[in-house]
């Protein structure tokens, strides 16, 4: 009896840890729910319910004893697709019976502590190249390619640095877009670039919440109303931060 109780708790801990990593790394809410329930079923808990929102997970498992429910809070969210993929492969191995409870727990704990991001400079290089390419895709001229790369790259460095020291995401987005606006204006002023608008749009593409907006609408369509609305609010705030950062520059000059 006592044994079974601790077993249920351990299963719940594994499921919640997997869900937490997925949600923090940008996994979709419905997929997190689905993964957690599949894992619980693989460990022998047939009746489990999970309720996932972008800010927290509630998970309950029905067993022989009274139903147990646990809640965890998610405060930071980023996009880290590698971790999503790794949790996915762990859950696949669990459902196929390859992994037992203890090794799944140690694997997930290792993964949670792991930092698998690309090096800082690689990320910045990718952001600056993406800025240049987006400028071309939005019908910019090739002459503006280098200026867009410059302002996009510097803006992204600013974003990463500010984000490290100031935990308020919207403030670092505001500062980053302020830098982008300032630098783009400067580059156009000295004659290195031509179309200020295209350079700015290309450079802010690495910051804009396009993905959040789309995910919000998708969640709303799927009936996850709370997730959809909260993601929509986050997207709106981000867009507001970027827009005002640029607007401050444009109103000065």
């Amino acid at each position: 009896m006592e044994n079974e109780k601790t077993l249920t708790y351990e299963i719940m801990e594994v499921c919640l840890l997997a869900g937490k990593i997925m949600l923090q790394s940008g996994g979709e809410t419905y997929r997190v729910e689905d993964t957690m329930m599949r894992m619980a079923a693989a460990f022998g808990i047939e009746n489990s319910h999970s309720y996932v929102t972008p800010t927290g997970i509630i998970f309950s498992a029905e067993g022989a004893e009274p139903t147990k429910t646990k809640l965890i809070r998610i405060s930071t969210r980023s996009t880290d697709l590698k971790k999503v993929a790794m949790v996915n492969s762990i859950s696949r191995r669990i459902t196929s019976g390859e992994l037992n409870l203890e090794s799944a727990l140690t694997l997930l704990k290792e993964l949670d502590a792991l930092n698998v991001t690309f090096p800082f400079m690689v990320q910045v290089a990718a952001a600056s190249i993406a800025s240049g390419c987006f400028m071309i895709m939005f019908m910019g001229e090739w002459i503006d390619f280098i200026p867009a790369m410059l302002s996009g790259g510097v803006g992204y460095i600013g974003f990463l640095y500010f984000h490290r020291y100031i935990p308020v995401k919207f403030f670092s987005e505001f500062l980053a877009s302020f830098i982008i606006g300032l630098l783009s204006f400067f580059l156009v002023k000295i004659g290195a670039g031509q179309q200020l608008d295209k350079i700015i749009i290309g450079s802010v593409m690495t910051l804009v919440p396009g993905l959040l907006v789309t995910n919000a609408v998708r969640d709303l369509m799927a009936g996850h109303l709370v997730s959809g609305l909260s993601k929509g609010a986050e997207a709106l705030l981000t867009a507001f931060a970027i827009g005002s950062g640029i607007a401050v520059v444009l109103s000065f000059v």
Binding site: G26, G27, E28, R31, T79, D80, L81, K82, K83, V84, A85, N88, S89, R92, V116, T117, F118, V122, Q123, A126, A127, I129, A130, G132, C133, F134, I136, M137, F138, W142, I201, V204, M205, T206, V208, P209, G210, L211, V213, T214, A216, V217, R218, L220, M221, A222, A235, A239, F240, I242, G243, S244, I246, A247, L250, S251
Partner: protein, 146 residues
């Protein structure tokens, strides 16, 4: 000539976004190809029909279906391919324009642009959901008639 530039830049931009989103290294090229396919469909459809919503829907359907197939084949979550693939299509530039007009007190223009952003992101979401539905229907038909 124009289209070659678009092909190259959309491939690089999507793969670069894969790096920013920290996609696994071995999927970066595939992400780039998915994004390139989606963007070219959008680019051509928008040019000939003049309707960005329709073009976005078609491109997202393509991205969605290809991502589902790739995810099944490589046994990775669909989100890895679909996220990178729809990045060129998301109305980020428009969302930024909307907010800029808001903070510059041009509410009329801002509301018009905001409606456009909602429509475009709605069509992306619809395309993704629709491609999932197609995938499920195909799977069910296969299950019934093996």
């Amino acid at each position: 000539m124009d289209i070659i530039g678009q092909l190259i830049t959309s491939f690089i931009a999507t793969a670069a976004f894969g790096v920013i989103f920290n996609a696994p290294k071995e999927t970066l090229v595939k992400c780039g190809l998915v994004g390139m396919g989606g963007w070219i469909i959008y680019y051509i459809a928008e040019k000939y029909s003049g309707d960005p919503v329709l073009a976005t829907l078609g491109a997202t359907l393509f991205v969605g279906i290809v991502s589902q197939e790739l995810a099944k084949f490589y046994k990775t979550p669909v989100i890895i391919f679909s996220v990178a693939g729809i990045i060129p299509l998301v109305p980020g530039g428009l969302a930024y324009d909307t907010m800029r007009n808001f903070v510059e007190d041009d509410y009329f223009q801002a509301l018009a642009l905001g409606a456009k952003v909602t429509l475009l992101s709605g069509s992306i979401a619809f395309g993704l959901v629709f491609s999932e539905v197609i995938n499920q229907v195909v799977r069910k038909i296969k299950a019934v008639r093996p």
